[in-house]
């Protein structure tokens, strides 16, 4: 299992994320896309306005392979799991870079590595809502 991280210099706007996710999902070797970034809560979490609705234009819906997925973060990293049995990692990276260059308006880093946890750990049971 090979993972690739796309790390833009700036947080992506919802429009960019939608476009990026749609284009990435069209690459054959892409098996999974995970977007990561600070949360955009649906309700105001603290203060005198706690519990009130929190309209936010950067929240939205992603279209991935015909399915609609909720976008509740402002994306700062994208992890992509790719299947190396279909083509070489260099070819896959080239495709990913092309998509990123077309979509992301700022600079970005891209690299292969291990980003997801291999096994569950006690941290996963702590109920952290961050």
């Amino acid at each position: 299992m090979t993972e690739v991280q796309i790390f833009p210099e700036k947080l992506l706007l919802a429009e960019t994320t939608k476009e990026l996710a749609t284009k990435l999902s069209k690459i054959n070797e892409v098996e999974e896309i995970l977007v990561h970034g600070p949360t955009l809560p649906k309700k105001v979490p603290y203060g005198p306005a706690k519990g009130k609705d929190n309209p936010h234009s950067e929240r939205g819906k992603l279209q991935v392979r015909g399915e609609e997925v909720e976008l509740n973060v402002q994306v700062g990293r994208v992890f992509v799991r790719v299947d190396e049995s279909k083509s070489s990692l260099e070819d896959i990276l080239e495709k990913l870079v092309d998509v990123c260059e077309e979509t992301i308006s700022c600079g970005f880093d891209i690299g292969q590595g291990r980003f997801e946890k291999k096994e569950s750990s006690s941290e996963g049971n702590m109920g952290c809502e961050c």
């Binding site: 947080l11 600070p38 203060g47 005198p48 700062g76």
Partner: protein
């Protein structure tokens, strides 16, 4: 010759900027107009036109005990009127915001009266009498210490000061209190400081350019002016560190320092 405070050591632009903010004799440059009512709406403590809430009668009507300190210190307008305590809080991005939380603390203490301020990593609160807080807020919102893209008025949910800017160059705000208008290039506040939508947006104009921000910012950064570039600042910080390490709260007891 009288004593002239230096306010901050160093000769770099960052040091000069810190001195400028801390020196009460130097005026802060006014760069935008915001009305009193707009400030009131942003702070959310009262409606525009509504009376100031109070916690005691005006001082003139109170029978205060004899006290030399009361005679010595002129009360602020808010204290005279018996206003309740209110707050305003600002978040400053680490990406060359025009000011930074700890600089704000020094600046407030030198420039304003009748306030209590608290510094946290990414935000700075002012507590004071309501009308004093409104007056201070207006100065802080209309002058060079506020940039609509890199500074935020955030009473709660302040997270964002150390997060990357977005593609429009705006500091992250989970409550999206302000929006970048792509057509005009200006920033509008659409929610008050606690995240409640406002009936009318408040226009803060265009954000400063990166070059202007680097010119004004009192933040040492490796990609701007590095802390280690300012010999006098490094010397002062090392001296404080040394005295504190060797002598705790009694640096005067160290001989030869």
């Amino acid at each position: 010759m009288g004593y002239e405070p230096n306010f901050y050591p160093g000769t770099t632009k960052v040091s000069e900027s810190r001195k400028h903010y801390m020196d009460p004799e130097e005026d802060l440059e006014k760069i935008r107009e915001i009305s009193d009512d707009e400030v009131t709406r942003l702070l959310h403590h009262r409606e525009p036109g509504e009376a100031f809430g109070s916690v005691h009668p005006p001082l003139e009507e109170m029978d205060e005990p004899d006290c030399p300190i009361r005679e010595l210190v002129e009360p602020t307008e808010g204290a005279k009127a018996g206003d309740r305590i209110a707050y305003v809080q600002f978040t400053d991005s680490v990406y060359f915001a025009p000011t930074a939380p700890y600089i704000r603390a020094w600046m407030y203490m030198n420039r304003f009266r009748g306030l209590d301020t608290g510094t946290l990593s990414g935000r700075q609160i002012i507590e004071g009498r309501l009308r004093d807080v409104e007056e201070m807020s207006k100065k802080l919102l209309t002058t060079e210490v506020f940039d609509p893209a890199r500074t935020g008025i955030r009473g709660a949910t302040v997270h964002g000061h150390a997060v990357r800017l977005d593609e429009n160059g705006m500091m992250f705000d989970a409550l999206q209190r302000y929006k970048f208008n792509e057509e005009t290039g200006e920033v509008e506040y659409v929610k008050n400081q606690v995240g409640e939508p406002m009936d009318e947006p408040v226009n803060f104009g265009k954000p400063l350019s990166e070059e202007e921000l680097i010119e004004r910012s009192p933040i040492f950064r490796e990609d701007g002016i590095s802390f280690s570039d300012d010999e006098e600042v490094v010397k002062m910080v090392q001296r404080i560190h040394k005295l504190r390490t060797l002598a705790g709260y009694k640096p005067h007891e160290i001989e030869g320092e």
